[in-house]
Symmetry: C2
Subunit: 274 residues, 2 copies
């Protein structure tokens, strides 16, 4: 399908590098919207349409939509997911957040816990972090080597193909921030007692691996962006254009799926309700 | 690996046909064992070794073994599984029986409910029926066409590859009986009030599709027997040689895996227990 024009970059080839994508580009939004406020009517219209499309998807009960969110710490996953889903009936949405794996999860293959949480027909499933962690954090910390990572890329592509063949449409978003932006957001979390619960001293240890993460992210996105399950790199230094870009893409994908409530399989006129 | 000589036939190529395999062949057992009783010492020795190997697998906690059983009705899945596992510590075994899928299961891809039940590290997992039902019964009854069935063969091979790459060894057994043998076993279930709970009138409807089932089984076994996850066709008109063949193969596969308890990661001598 053709996706709408947004600042987000669709990853198309095996040589993709994150370094080639700006983190603060507003792309076509720069001309359309002078500032955050001027984009609000468009965002509100998209959200309303998203709620309608989700209801049709639910009524149809044939297909599902899976949205995968990945980012560096403070990249905005929670914010983007919250923004996107505000106004959608929670009964039709399943959000799964993947933390460090439990002993039971570690006792199975790396896709086991993820497969369990894939959306049922009629639902929108959202992954806050995902199976991609198993080719990112594990690789940066030397728990798996490049060969295993590339085997896992194959496993991931096969798994996502299984899902798409069975009616699950997949969109994957990498929220792309600069190292400088992360510094500011981490500092804000430290400074603001209301935000401090989001800060962990361990975040600084991961920040020290920034360049390694950019490399393994580039490799994963380059090898696992497919027609059926594309990766979008969303410039995410500006929250409003990040959120608008994601919402534009999700709504366009659902419009393209065109879910419809089933037609009656009985004679409507013959039903007499007394 | 090299498997032991038994009446079971390892499926090796894409042109495999069930019709080429006898259902009552005792193969090398014919010469070795005059009758059922003369094979019992061997079976007892294998079972004891199986219990030891399973304990080592459990202690090692790195790998797992998955055994898949498929057969026509009355083919002997329950009997074979019960015979094989008698004497193994149930704490290290997970048996999953797959019946007609529930609405929640149907709301996901066909491998979802199966993936959930794959064995954890250290365990032997047994599937009484499996994901193969989704390329058998669905195909005989026209719920999926040949193209979809062959797509699913790919999905199954990819899925089993994921499991084997993550430390799960897989062995798959088709218990092969003749149509005549099925008639006798169904009649016995009807005649014996103690066995009648196993009989359903619907069994006759499936029996009428005997030849179709043999065809789709042949196709599935031919396309989904891989080095990492081989299919064995076990002549199963004679229960004792069926059970001995399966036990020989399972024990040989575990011997080849050679599971070992972990060595102490602490100084054993420094531990002073007062």
């Amino acid at each position: 399908m053709k996706y709408p024009e947004t600042p987000a970059v669709l990853v198309k080839d095996k040589h993709f590098k994150l370094a080639d994508v700006s983190t603060d580009d507003k792309g076509p939004f720069d001309e359309k919207y002078a500032h955050k406020e001027s984009a609000e009517p468009r965002l509100a219209a998209l959200r309303q349409r998203l709620a309608e499309l989700q209801e049709n998807l639910y009524a149809e009960h044939q297909r599902s939509l899976l949205l995968v969110f990945q980012a560096m710490d403070t990249g905005g996953k929670d914010g983007a997911i919250g923004n996107l889903l505000t106004g959608v009936n929670p009964a039709g949405v399943q959000v799964a957040a993947f933390k460090a794996p439990s002993p039971v999860e570690l006792a199975h293959d790396f896709l086991w816990r993820v497969h369990l949480k894939t959306p049922a027909r009629g639902h929108i499933g959202v992954f806050n972090r995902s199976h991609y962690e198993d080719v990112l954090v594990t690789r940066v910390h030397g728990l798996i080597d490049k060969k295993t990572a590339h085997q896992r890329f194959d496993d991931i592509n096969n798994f996502e193909q299984l899902l798409t063949r069975n009616g699950t449409h997949i969109l994957k978003f990498f929220l792309h921030i600069s190292k400088k932006e992360q510094a500011e957001r981490l500092q804000a979390r430290l400074d603001d007692p209301a935000k401090r619960w989001k800060y962990e001293p361990g975040d600084l240890k991961e920040r020290a691996h920034w360049d390694d993460y950019q490399d393994v992210y580039s490799d994963a996105l380059a090898h696992c962006s497919t027609d059926g399950a594309p990766w979008f790199v969303v410039p995410a230094d500006h929250k409003w254009s990040r959120d608008l870009a994601i919402t534009e893409i999700v709504v366009a994908a659902l419009e393209n799926m065109d879910p419809r409530p089933p037609t009656a399989d009985f004679d409507v006129k013959a039903q007499v309700i007394k």
